[in-house]
């Protein structure tokens, strides 16, 4: 019957490979997905997701804010040189005209 049990476990684990799972590995808690299936954590509208002391929505919000700030900075990094180069160009023209 030990063989049977093994076979059963074997069978189950083949199925399992297709399934997302939560498992304990030497005391580590592991959330796993292999194929195209997801693991999802969902709270209600007032619930939070916390990773140790970090609030996930704060993190995500800061990531987005950083991203937005970077877009603005990039634009100014293009606009500013354009503006300056215009002014310098004009100075040059004035100089040549002297």
């Amino acid at each position: 019957e030990a063989g049977e049990l093994e076979q059963k476990q074997q069978k189950r684990s083949t199925d399992d490979l297709q399934q997302p799972r939560i498992a304990s590995e030497r005391g580590n808690l592991v959330f796993l997905t292999s194929s195209a299936q997801n693991i999802e954590f969902r709270t209600g509208p007032l619930g939070k997701i916390k990773l140790n002391d970090e609030d996930l929505s704060d993190c995500v919000h800061q990531i987005q804010k950083n991203k937005d700030d970077i877009i603005v900075l990039k634009r100014s990094a293009v606009d500013l040189p354009q503006n300056i180069s215009n002014q310098i160009h004009q100075l040059n023209s004035t100089l040549v005209d002297l």
Binding site: R12, D15, Q19, A23, S24, E25, G27
Partner: protein, 337 residues
């Protein structure tokens, strides 16, 4: 002596589920919403739905886990009938069936002494998968020490702090109070267990599955030993003793000189110091030797009882036995009467 708590709150224990089997592949699982419990998971389970208690935990042993399986993956597993985890509050400290002690072959304990006595050390399953009701709280449960979750408590304040912690509340519940720190039994003649007052509660717990009634004994004039909930067939030898009496040595003598004989193999024997039945004096105790007949043959217990009385008469001084009296149950009753 050590007393070990038996029932567990394992996910993989079939008896913890309403259908007496662990959740099937693709099945739904439900824990009682309002029952705190710590459940140990030792295998991998594929489930379609699981409702956790509002307060509780699943501890995952290495290699254990859960994976997603949609309902219907196992034809024998109906999604309409979720596996219900049985009420984890159903186990009471006062239930003699829920304790195990290390009894030598041929020996047993009367019901009252199956539950931890004042001088006992109590050991809960080290894997932490257990839940104990501490009884109605009529009187505090007193023992020498309690070992649980890798700690051994011998001081009341340490135990109280543990019981108040989240882990304590996951494992112990009910109005009853638990107290540790009693002395170990230092009397060679043995110590009285101390459950005389609690016996009605113990017996109520023991007999709960039988509707509170003792089964009919299989003999006439059945005996009710001190500390036993129901009548039994066999014999009781009561010994009064001097300070020289040594309970362990007397047990060993019983085992080697009597129970080892082929004619007594069927007998179960309980030996302990108990409050004296006559109760002429409050503090009076005696040694109770219960010889219970398990088989169909009757009269064996009586024969051994007479042998013990004769032994006491012959070697009384060496044994520290002052006097011995015996009671014996009567003829068997037929099952159909």
């Amino acid at each position: 002596a050590y007393k070990f708590w038996v029932p567990n709150t394992g996910f993989d224990t079939p008896a913890n589920w309403n259908q007496n089997r662990t959740p099937c592949v693709g099945g739904a699982v439900q824990f009682p919403a309002d029952k705190m419990v710590s459940v140990l998971v030792q295998e991998s389970h594929a489930i379609s739905d699981m409702l956790l208690p509002l307060d509780g935990e699943l501890a995952l042993a290495s290699g254990a886990g859960f994976s997603a399986a949609d309902p219907g993956s196992d034809p024998d597993c109906s999604p309409d009938a979720p596996a219900l985890f049985r009420n984890p509050d159903r186990f009471s400290w006062l239930d003699p069936r829920l304790w195990r002690s290390e009894e030598a072959r041929g020996f047993f304990s009367v019901d009252a002494e199956r539950v931890p006595c004042r001088h006992d050390d109590v050991v809960f399953p080290p894997d932490g998968a257990f839940r104990v009701g501490l009884g109605p709280g009529a009187r505090p449960l007193r023992v020498r020490s309690v070992s649980a979750l890798g700690q051994t408590f011998v001081r009341d304040e340490d135990l109280a702090a543990f019981l108040a912690s989240r882990s304590g509340r996951l494992h112990f519940h009910g109005p009853g109070a638990l107290s540790v720190g009693s002395e170990a039994c230092a009397d060679r003649s043995g110590c009285v267990c101390g459950h005389a007052e609690a016996l009605p509660w113990l017996c109520a717990a023991l007999l709960q599955p039988l509707g509170g009634r003792c089964p009919q004994a299989a003999c006439r004039d059945a005996l009710r030993p001190e500390g036993q909930c129901c009548d039994l067939c066999g014999a009781i030898v009561s010994l009064t003793h001097s300070a020289a009496f040594d309970l362990q040595r007397y047990r060993a003598r019983l085992r080697d000189a009597f129970l080892a004989l082929p004619q007594y193999q069927e007998l179960q024997v309980a030996v302990s110091r108990v409050p004296r039945r006559s109760r002429l004096r409050q503090a009076d105790t005696e040694i109770q030797v219960v010889l219970a007949e398990s088989g169909l043959e009757t009269g064996v217990a009586g024969r051994l009882a007479r042998a013990l009385v004769a032994d006491a008469a012959e070697h009384g001084e060496a044994l520290g036995v002052l006097s011995a009296t015996l009671r014996e149950s009567g003829a068997p009753v037929r099952g159909d009467s």
